[in-house]
């Protein structure tokens, strides 16, 4: 069976009509079948679903106030009452971790969403317009690739203050280039296809072609890079907050909790203060990386076994 790098549904292929028993399968059901075979990716997906649910619903179910101060229970190690121990103010670390996870995960998702939008716009424009526009935009991508991401994010945050949106935009500004390159490559190859020519001959406008006929087919490679982008966005935000330049108290992302735990861990040996927030970052990033790996295998047309 021929490849379908452009994402044509296999059902349209004349070859499948000859083989009568082959049921029509969409790209997505094919991808899902493939994805399920990657056991670690499946486990990663499970961890992410669980984590998101815990972060979203956990604090409501537990009913503990993450800011509740209880000096009688200060600096306690993990126990049944406080699963992940308490900090120097006696605040329950488990609830704080769940609430902090909301911040970490929303910042990362928002940053990736922004970077995809920018990357799609730049990539589509460059690939569809071609020529001078393409050249200029790709040189811009080169420039942004050469600027050291973490340094610039730190600089932007010191310039404009460490608010939610500043952090989101600072991360997004330095992570759209990969998407732009992928989308441009898709547009370059797709705009030469017969179905685009057909659309043009019946008088479909440029914008309509770029958005309705090319864009959906150019999205597949973006999915993998966006997934992996979430991992790096989490790491950048955590690093920023760990360095004390990101979220400030009382807001506490996982990185910020690590930042506040430093002296407790190093000087007093309260390992739980640092261990659990880092563990959450690690688990999330690991799960995202495995899911990305599974998606790459599942969406790679060369690897699909039918």
């Amino acid at each position: 069976m021929p490849d379908h790098p452009d994402g044509d549904p296999p059902g349209d292929d004349p070859a499948t009509e000859i083989v009568l028993r082959a049921p029509a399968r969409s790209l997505w059901s094919d991808a899902w079948r493939q994805f399920r075979r990657h056991r670690l990716a499946l486990a990663g997906l499970g961890v992410l679903v669980l984590l998101t649910a815990a972060v979203a619903l956990g604090p409501l179910i537990l009913g503990t106030d993450p800011q509740e101060i209880d000096f009688d229970a200060a600096d306690e190690g993990p126990s049944l009452g406080h699963l992940m121990g308490t900090d120097e103010l006696g605040r329950d670390q488990f609830v704080r971790l769940l609430v902090g996870g909301r911040l970490t995960l929303t910042v990362a998702s928002a940053a990736v969403l922004f970077s995809i939008v920018v990357g799609l716009l730049v990539g589509a424009l460059a690939g569809y317009a071609g020529g001078f526009v393409d050249n200029a935009l790709m040189r811009l991508v080169d420039v942004f690739y050469s600027l050291p991401g973490l340094f610039v994010v730190i600089l932007l945050v010191t310039l404009f203050g460490a608010g939610f949106w500043t952090i989101v935009i600072a991360i997004a500004v330095f992570s759209w280039m990969n998407t732009a390159r992928l989308v441009r490559a898709s547009y370059l190859s797709l705009k030469e296809k017969e179905y685009i020519e057909a659309a043009r001959t019946i008088g479909v406008g440029n914008i309509q072609i770029a958005l309705r006929h090319i864009l959906p087919n150019a999205l597949t490679p973006v999915i993998v890079s966006a997934t992996l982008g979430i991992a790096s966005a989490i790491l950048i935000e955590s690093a920023l907050s760990f360095l004390g330049l990101g979220f400030q108290p009382p807001q506490a992302s996982w990185g910020a909790m690590l930042n506040q735990s430093q002296s407790a861990v190093i000087n007093q040996g309260h390992w739980w203060r640092g261990f659990f927030p880092g563990m959450m970052i690690f688990l999330t990033v690991l799960a995202v990386n495995y899911v990305g790996d599974g998606l790459r295998d599942a969406l790679d047309p060369r690897k699909t076994q039918r």
Binding site: D142, Y145, L147, F151, F242, L245, I266, F282, V285
Partner: protein, 322 residues
């Protein structure tokens, strides 16, 4: 070849100009802009003094003219003055550079020393227990936040065991001589280098494994085996030498990443390098120093990219640049 070197190097110039424009625009966004940067005043200047200085420093000139003046300064070594210390930015940075280069260099070396044998072994025994273990570990390594790894190392080796010092580059309480001095320096470097090398080692192991796997299926490897060469010989002389070409490129491209990672490492272990300088300058809003370090890091990216391209051409005889 030499004409290729020149042509490829010339291609870096428009890129450098683009980067310098972005950095110049960021400089414009800083409070006080380039004026405060060359005055070292940090915005304390009075209105008429500012007025006078504006004229003197050409800030009423159109932006392109200002850009050319600024870029000329960068090329001739005038990078402005630190708000904090009043010292020239370039001197401030070059003072800190050797420490960061030492950390980066050691971490790079460690990454290579671990990744090459592990990656090769994993590839030659694909789907063995060793392969699964090393693949799993490299996924873990890539996903580990380095600051967390550092913090946990500090807890185990400094707080619990008391084996390694928790900060700085040397024992400040007493001077050591001879072997004790060597151990003093080493003991301060072990944890920072381990933290810095972690992600690079994990990434590099995956690349080495991947490129070895590609090469091992090639005809020339089968031919070498068919000729009855010892397996060791086949792997090292025939397979690895070809697999090494993309690995060298990736390894060179990792140098700027290690350099960036030094920000976090130096911050955890209180090491007075460039990364620490960057964080301290961010706390103090010392924009000239921040932009200076940014410029150095961007230069490093451009230079290593160039180097990777040139090395690729040099190592792969199939590519000719006539």
């Amino acid at each position: 070849m030499s004409s290729y070197v020149i042509r490829r190097s010339l291609q870096a110039i428009p890129l450098l100009i683009g980067i310098s424009i972005v950095i110049f625009l960021m400089l414009q966004m800083t409070p006080g802009g380039p004026l405060a940067s060359s005055e070292g005043g940090g915005g304390r200047a009075t209105a008429e003094r500012t007025e006078r200085l504006r004229a003197e420093f050409g800030l009423d000139d159109p932006l392109p003219v200002q850009y050319l003046n600024w870029a000329g300064g960068i090329v001739t070594g005038d990078w402005g003055t630190s708000y904090n210390t009043g010292r020239p930015v370039l001197d401030t940075i070059t003072d800190r550079l050797p420490t960061t280069l030492l950390l980066t260099g050691l971490a790079f070396l460690i990454a290579l020393l671990i990744a090459l044998p592990v990656g090769i072994r994993a590839a030659t025994r694909q789907y063995s227990a060793f392969d699964y273990a090393s693949s799993g570990l490299s996924f873990v390594g890539v996903s580990t936040p380095s600051f967390w790894f550092g913090l946990m190392l500090l807890y185990v080796f400094s707080f619990q065991l008391g084996w390694l010092p928790s900060s700085g580059l040397e024992d400040l309480r007493q001077a050591h001589v001879g072997l004790a001095a060597v151990w003093d320096r080493l003991s301060h470097l072990i944890m920072p280098v381990a933290v810095l090398a972690l992600i690079a080692t994990a990434q590099l192991t995956r690349y080495v494994r991947g490129s070895m796997l590609e090469v091992l299926h090639e005809d020339y490897v089968r031919t070498a085996r068919g000729n009855g060469l010892p397996e060791r010989n086949v792997i090292v002389r025939h397979a690895f030498r070809n697999a090494a070409i993309p690995v060298v490129t990736i390894a060179v491209l990792m140098i700027p990443e290690l350099f960036l990672g030094a920000v976090i490492t130096e911050s955890i272990f209180a090491i007075p390098g460039m990364g620490r300088l960057f964080i301290d300058s961010a706390d103090l809003r010392d924009y000239p120093v921040l932009l200076g370090i940014l410029t150095i890091a961007a230069l490093l990216v451009v230079v290593t990219n160039l180097l990777a391209d040139l090395l690729y051409g040099l190592l792969d005889p199939r590519i000719s640049y006539a």
